[in-house]
Symmetry: C2
């Protein structure tokens, strides 16, 4: 009998492989090193393997670690200062963003990633400026990260006295500097930490850089063989800029310059028409959908239903703390389902099983990591989570004639039921406690930085400032 | 210096009184017996009172206990068996409901109430058949309950071979029996437990009983001086029944028979037109809005915006575990805001402050308990909760220039941050542990009953059964 590192046994295993969701009622998963070696009935696994550690997970459920395909963890320190307003970026974010230092950004990012991690996220599609710095948080925490720098040609301090709707000035020197940071990121970190860190390119949007730089990024993505993570039709602000600068909406523009293909991870599609969403889907590009964020920021449900008519490369993302305001894929699953049920006035659409796929196996394929993660299968990397079903919000457990575990994960769980998080074979969260970083210290350090930032911000003159003056905040 | 029972001090107090939300930055609350005696700056409270127990709540926030204005806790044992389907009641619930015993109902209710309680709900508008039994859970747990029996004239075992859309038979003997149970409830429990239990009448809907019984209930409500808690325009099923039976939609019918007035707590209004919603609002009736539930069950956002144009008697409810599927007012606040932002395509509507009012002071006024609960004010009953702000999901705390605490409560909290729940002056949840009932025992007992129920259900032939067969559940 071979001895392996860890067996999780006597539990409901949701493999996301095979027929339907591939659920095993009395199942077990065996892990050795950073790989899954067996997924089968408990009896079979226990007969074939012994292990250094065994977790009896009866009354629990095991499933693949969740994938947050799109997050700006570097905005973590700004949670709660920007919502219930029009022109979210200009009126909500910029009054604070212009003072944000690298240290504040990194400190906030660490707490954001901890939030997601404790709620079962194992892979973060982290998309932020300063990623050479922020990636250190993923390295320290032990999270899987699919990261890029955010490339644009926008001058610093955009918040200074710029009118809503004015065409952004573009500065090619800024663009070249940011592109170089993204190249450095790829060269320094791609494949590092045992393959836990993977890198790609992150142009911020077709409106925020010249056509030349966008095409240069595409050439480099081909050279480095990476995907391109980019906001596409993310809001009326973007569409307005595109119409002013090019006389074209974002998606027709991207189609014209040959940007719509399998390499593209198209984020949001907030303002995409039904036909544009289908165009993106048919091109082979993935859609990264951020329901909570776009709901708060724009009051819009993006055309994911139309995208799904032509492709299943749909993944979900939490986007950011100021505008969502949760870094939690359980929150995203529930919002995505209910918002789309309401968009189509049909309770049958976006069912629980489809939501779970959108944060596991389909998400993994969408972001190009489907060979390694997203399901529990021998040979894949060992990323998985264990939730306690003996929680009032997940009560009761019924296995037949209608099994209620998946609906309860999607519609009832809030992430606080996650007990164990395993990434790349390492137990990163054990009995709800982060093992790799001192959470209390991260919170205290982040709060100190938040205090510093808040003390800098002066003279905010926005709808939120009016609410503050009226005692409503 | 007077000595009182409890002081909570050195904290952010959201009083929901006075200008805006009445926030005190370094505040304290003093409690003696079941009443609030002082709410003021910490220095003032500590100078005027000593206390038997003091809670230092720095880095926390204190606010009024949340009000869940509409919940069927008796459906708790059915969580997760009925969603992603059309005809939720007939295809989702009835295959299970027809086997539900009183013991199973009560066991599931207990876990449901614990779920809400731990997430900060102190008052439950519990609306269920068998309330003379279920109310024992509220008595044992120490929760505040505003309860009624559910009166209808529908024969038992409605699930048996009845076609969707067929006019329900009405049985006046059933109606008289259920009415008597509601009268018994009022006579036995109204004002009991130091006033913690209050009772009213609960006709199930205008479609489920004769006009005569509906009017009899109204006469009794006047006699007992109670409100009437009733589903109104709760779905297309109800409207179809009303059109078939009376040739009128629900709200015009209720207006005609003189049912729209301050006494009515009108639940859902799912199918109300904009004009009908305004008619209800102008009549003085309250609207109890269940956003998560109606989103899952119907894919609809009810016309709360139109109601709010004419009235602020809006309260939120979790509705039930099978169809929502959470008993959690933090979930309801977030869903209500984002669903309505999307309904109106406007991120400014249903702001955080308004959501917080809808589960505290406005909810209290809506259900007729505004004199006693819903805000922190000397003389009011001591119902309040303390949340830990040192949680990743609520990070960071910023007090100026934009205070982020209320937005973070509404958009980021999931209820697991609630540390302390005080109801009627008693600490019912302390350091996240329920003090009055053994939670583990309640879960185990509920699970045993759920297993019994599930083993009874046979031959379910519904869209959910198909998903089960396809391995998608």
């Amino acid at each position: 009998m071979a001895t392996i590192d860890l067996i999780i046994t006597r539990t409901t295993v949701i493999t996301m492989e095979g027929k339907g969701l591939g659920i095993i009622e009395d199942g077990a998963v065996g892990i050795d090193g950073n790989r899954i070696v067996i997924v089968d009935d408990s009896d079979v696994v226990e007969r074939e393997y012994s292990s250094h550690r065994t977790i009896d997970a009866s009354h629990k459920v095991v499933l693949p670690g969740l994938i947050d395909a799109h997050i700006h963890s570097g905005l973590g320190i700004l949670r709660g200062v920007a919502q219930d307003t029009d022109n979210w970026m200009e009126k909500g974010l910029w009054p604070f963003m212009q003072f944000l230092t690298d240290d504040q950004r990194r400190a906030g990012s660490l707490v954001n990633i901890i939030e997601g991690l404790k709620a079962g996220t194992t892979t973060f599609g982290d998309y932020n400026g300063g990623m050479n710095d922020i990636v250190q948080n993923h390295i320290a925490l032990g999270t899987r990260a699919h990261v890029c720098d955010m490339i644009n040609e926008m001058p610093e301090r955009m918040g200074d006295a710029r009118e809503v709707g004015e065409l952004y000035p573009l500065d090619s020197a800024v663009g070249e500097k940011k592109l170089q940071e993204n190249i450095d990121l790829i060269e320094n970190y791609h494949g590092s930490e045992n393959g836990r860190i993977t890198c790609l390119f992150g142009p911020q949007g077709p409106d925020m850089m010249s056509r030349e730089l966008l095409l240069e990024v595409q050439q480099l993505a081909k050279k480095f063989d990476t995907s391109i993570h980019m906001h596409v039709a993310q809001g009326d602000r973007e569409i307005e800029q595109m119409m002013k600068r090019y006389g074209k909406r974002s998606i027709p523009y991207l189609e014209e310059i040959g940007y719509l293909d399998e390499r593209l991870l198209a984020v949001h599609l907030t303002e995409a028409t039904a036909e544009e969403a289908k165009t993106v889907a048919r091109s082979g590009a993935a859609m990264l959908l951020c329901s909570g964020s776009i709901g708060i920021i724009d009051g819009i449900v993006p055309p994911a239903a139309e995208f799904l008519e032509a492709s299943d490369r749909l993944a979900l993302g939490s986007d950011q703390a100021p505008g969502n305001n949760c870094i939690n894929m359980f929150n995203e699953m529930k919002f995505t389902s209910i918002l789309n049920k309401c968009r189509q006035r049909d309770p049958r659409v976006f069912p629980a099983w489809q939501m779970l796929k959108s944060v596991t196996i389909n998400a993994a394929h969408a972001i190009g990591l489907g060979e390694d993660i997203g399901s529990l299968k021998p040979g894949k990397k060992a990323d998985m989570i264990i939730l306690d079903l003996q929680s009032p919000a997940l009560f009761p457990t019924i296995q037949a004639p209608i099994r209620n575990i998946v609906p309860n994960l999607v519609y009832s769980a809030n992430g606080s039921e996650v007990e164990t998080v395993i990434i790349d074979g390492q137990v990163i969260v054990d009995e709800k406690i982060v093992q790799t970083v001192d959470e209390g210290k991260a919170l205290a350090d982040g709060q100190k930085h938040a205090n510093e930032l808040a003390s800098q911000v002066r003279g905010v003159d926005t709808p939120l400032a009016k609410m503050m003056a009226d005692g409503l905040l």
